[in-house]
Each structure stands twice: as structure tokens, then as C-alpha cells.
Amino acid sequence: MSGRSLRTLSIASVVAMAIYLGLVFFYAPIEAEEGFLQKIFYLHVPLAIVSLAGFVIGGLMAIAHLRTREARWDLRSYVTIHMSLIFGLGALITGSIWARGSWGHWWVWSEPTLVSFLIVMLLYATYQPLRFSIEDPDRQARYASVFAIVAGAFVPMSFLAVRLSTAYLHPRVLGSSSNLPGPMQLTFVVAMAAIGLLFATMCSYELAAKRTRILVKSRSRILGYR
């Protein structure tokens, strides 16, 4: 994606982000128990969901790469996982702040979602070291795809295992949108859309940058600059 469509996507995500922030700060009601702090929910939960979805989508793209052997699928898978790592880091940090604010601790082992998220992040943190310690570009793409598939399948498995191992200490209200009052639910849906769009836009920019770099490299090789 480049040129006009990238511009349209960028404008759409800027508009969505503006509406989203407006709703969070001026429309969504202050929650009775947690007060203003609860608004971090509209940032933390979409970041976490989008990054987990990104990990799984990265795995699906890796399947496409192994099936078709086209380098562009590997590039897409790489960019998606890379961006998911960044969003996931954001989710961990906001989750930690939220935990500190509402439960008094920066880290809470009894919150299964947080713990499984950490395990998934630890696994994906090895994606880049693995990838870039393989020199042959073809093998690098293949091995990275195998990793992305195994890790993508690991995401739900990790959540299942950790969820089973933890007693429910904290209300599940915070984790799901199904039992939120109307204005909160609307804000949450807009937040999901805005963060999702932001993710897609940033992936597109990174893809465009990577493609341009590859293009420039091949052109300069043709022209004989080194």
C-alpha cells in the first residue's frame, strides 16, 4: 500500500483516534469505583487485543508464506509481528499502571490475562534474535515463518493454561465488553476500531518503508553503486 491509499488510511486513523480520544475524555462516564483511572481500560484492552490478534495474523501470513513461497508474505508476517510486539509492550505497561492504580501492585500474578500476556511477549521477544541470527535470506524467511506458526498456535494455548491455573480473584468486568453500560460500550467499540486502524496504518507505513528500501537497494545495485 502506498500513495493515495496510504494517505486515505492515515487520515482515517487520525480521525478515528481523534474521535476515540474525545469519547474517552469527554463522553465516557467516570466509573464509580475506580474513578478516572478506569479510562486506561480504553487504551489497555484494545492494545492487548490488537497485539494478540496481530500475533495470530502474523502466524496465518507465515502459513501463506510457506504455502506460496512468496517473499512478500514473509515481509508482511514480519511487519505484523514486529508491530504487535510494540503494541504488546504498550499493553504490558498500561496494564501495569492500571494494576498499580487499582490493586496497589505493579504486577499481579493472580490476573491470568496479564500473566499469559507476559509469557506470550517473552516468546515473541525471541522472534527477532532468531530471525536475524540466520544469514541466508531464504532460510531466514522459512525459519521465521515456522516460528510464527508455532508461536501463533501457542497464544491460545498459553491463555488456556494460565487461565486454568489461576483462581479468579479479580472481577471479569474489566476484561470483557459484554456487561458494560451503554456509553462505556460505545467508547470501547470506537477504541477498538481506532487502535485497530492505527495498527493497520503503522504496519502499512513499515511495509512501504521496507519495500522502498529493498527497491532502492536493487536499483543502486543495477546502477553500480556498490
Binding site: 544469514e135 522459512r142 525459519y143 494455548m157 488456556l160 493454561a161 491455573s165
Partner: protein, 232 residues
């Protein structure tokens, strides 16, 4: 595989697995590089735990935790060694030249790792009972063997994948454990929780279920993606 010319007689997968397994176990018997090291590591780790925790005997949660952390770390030692000799001495290239299904390599290596794990546990579990667990292990030996078997299958499936992924990288000694540990967290959870009641003279059916599900999912995934790690 489709690239095999039809005029060549192909060797059956079972035969290929048998040959590879024989080779691996023979090499291990002659060099004693992996399994004894893993067992020794486990015993030393128990000693370290004894001093680090300052306890003479453990039970329940703590016993299960110490046992499984030790077994997983020792298993990772074996995972790290699994493909090294083949990669360095051309074993993988030789295998790729042979007209056999590549899944044979997966099965053979997984069985080899399973054999290492059995040797490891034959030493480590009695040592654990002797050094740290007191008499608690004897009562529920059958249950513990079931947990060990299910956990070993999962470790073998993921271990072969991780070993094959890591062996071609520059920093394989580092990449292997870094990949393996998070992937094995569900095994650690399932195995430790399933064996905790067994080590507390006191049953964890769903944990066995979790281990079995893990074995199934990652066994299938390993089978599906392993071929891509071998082609060069």
C-alpha cells in the same frame, strides 16, 4: 516427497526412522554427550535447591515446582545438543540426499529426545525422592509416571522443533533455551499442578487433560511444519 524420481526405490518411513534412531542412540552410547550430562545436571540442581531453599525435605507445590523446573532445564540441555552433531558433520545433508520422507527425521529425533528424557527421569526422580522429597514419591508412583509420560511427549514435540530452529542460527546456545522456555510454560503449569497433589500425600485430572491437549496440538504442528526446517 514429490521430488524423488520414480525409478529410485524409496525406503519406508518406518525403516528410515529405525535407522536414524539406531544411529542417534549408537552415537549417544559411544559419546555419552547428552543424557548423562542431563542427569548429572538435575542432581546438581537438586543440591543447589537444597541450599537455596534451606530445606531438607519438600512436599506439595514446592516439591512439584522444584522437580519440574529442574527437569525442564535439564531437558533444554538435551534439546540444545539434539541437532548439533548432525549440523556440524553433515548428517542433515546426508539425510536430505536419501529418498525418504522428512517426517522420519522428526519422529527419530523426537524418540531420541524421549529416550534422553526417560534416562534423565530414571536418575532424577529417584534422586529427588532421596534428596528432597522424603517418602512422598513412593505412594503415588503410578500417577507420577503418567504425568511424566504426558509431559515428556510435549517436551519431545516442542524440543525437536526448537532444536531444529535454533541449530542453524549463529547464537544457537542462546536461542534454543530462549525459545523453549516460554513454549514449555504450559507443560510446567500442567505437570507441576498435576504432580503437586501426588507429592503431598493427598488429584488433578484436568491438568493431565491440559498436558494431553498440549501434546496433541504441538505434536500435530511439529509434524506440519518440520519439513520446512530441513529443506536447503
Amino acid at each position: 516427497m514429490s521430488s524423488v524420481p520414480e525409478t529410485l526405490p524409496t525406503v519406508g518411513t518406518r525403516q528410515a526412522v529405525g535407522a536414524l534412531l539406531r544411529k542417534d542412540l549408537l552415537v549417544e552410547l559411544r559419546t555419552l554427550e547428552a543424557a548423562p550430562g542431563m542427569a548429572l545436571f538435575a542432581v546438581s540442581t537438586f543440591v543447589v535447591f537444597h541450599f537455596a531453599l534451606n530445606r531438607n525435605s519438600l512436599e506439595g507445590d514446592l516439591a512439584a515446582g522444584v522437580l519440574w523446573v529442574t527437569l525442564l532445564f535439564a531437558a533444554i540441555l538435551g534439546v540444545n545438543r539434539l541437532f548439533v552433531a548432525d549440523a556440524e558433520q553433515g548428517g542433515i545433508d546426508g539425510f536430505l540426499l536419501a529418498p525418504v520422507d522428512r517426517g522420519a527425521m522428526l519422529l527419530a529425533k523426537a524418540t531420541t529426545l524421549l529416550a534422553y528424557l526417560v534416562v534423565l527421569e530414571l536418575v532424577a526422580v529417584p534422586a529427588f525422592a532421596l534428596l528432597l522429597a522424603g517418602a512422598a514419591v513412593g505412594h503415588e508412583l503410578g500417577g507420577l509416571v503418567a504425568v511424566l509420560a504426558l509431559a515428556d511427549l510435549g517436551i519431545a514435540a516442542i524440543g525437536v522443533l526448537v532444536a531444529a530452529l535454533a541449530v542453524r542460527t549463529r547464537a544457537r546456545d542462546l536461542i534454543g533455551p530462549l525459545l523453549a522456555l516460554p513454549l514449555l510454560v504450559p507443560v510446567a503449569i500442567g505437570a507441576a499442578r498435576a504432580s503437586a497433589p501426588l507429592l503431598a500425600a493427598g488429584h488433578g485430572g484436568r491438568w493431565l487433560g491440559l498436558l494431553a491437549l498440549y501434546d496433541l496440538v504441538f505434536g500435530l504442528i511439529a509434524y506440519a511444519v518440520f519439513d520446512f526446517l530441513l529443506e536447503d
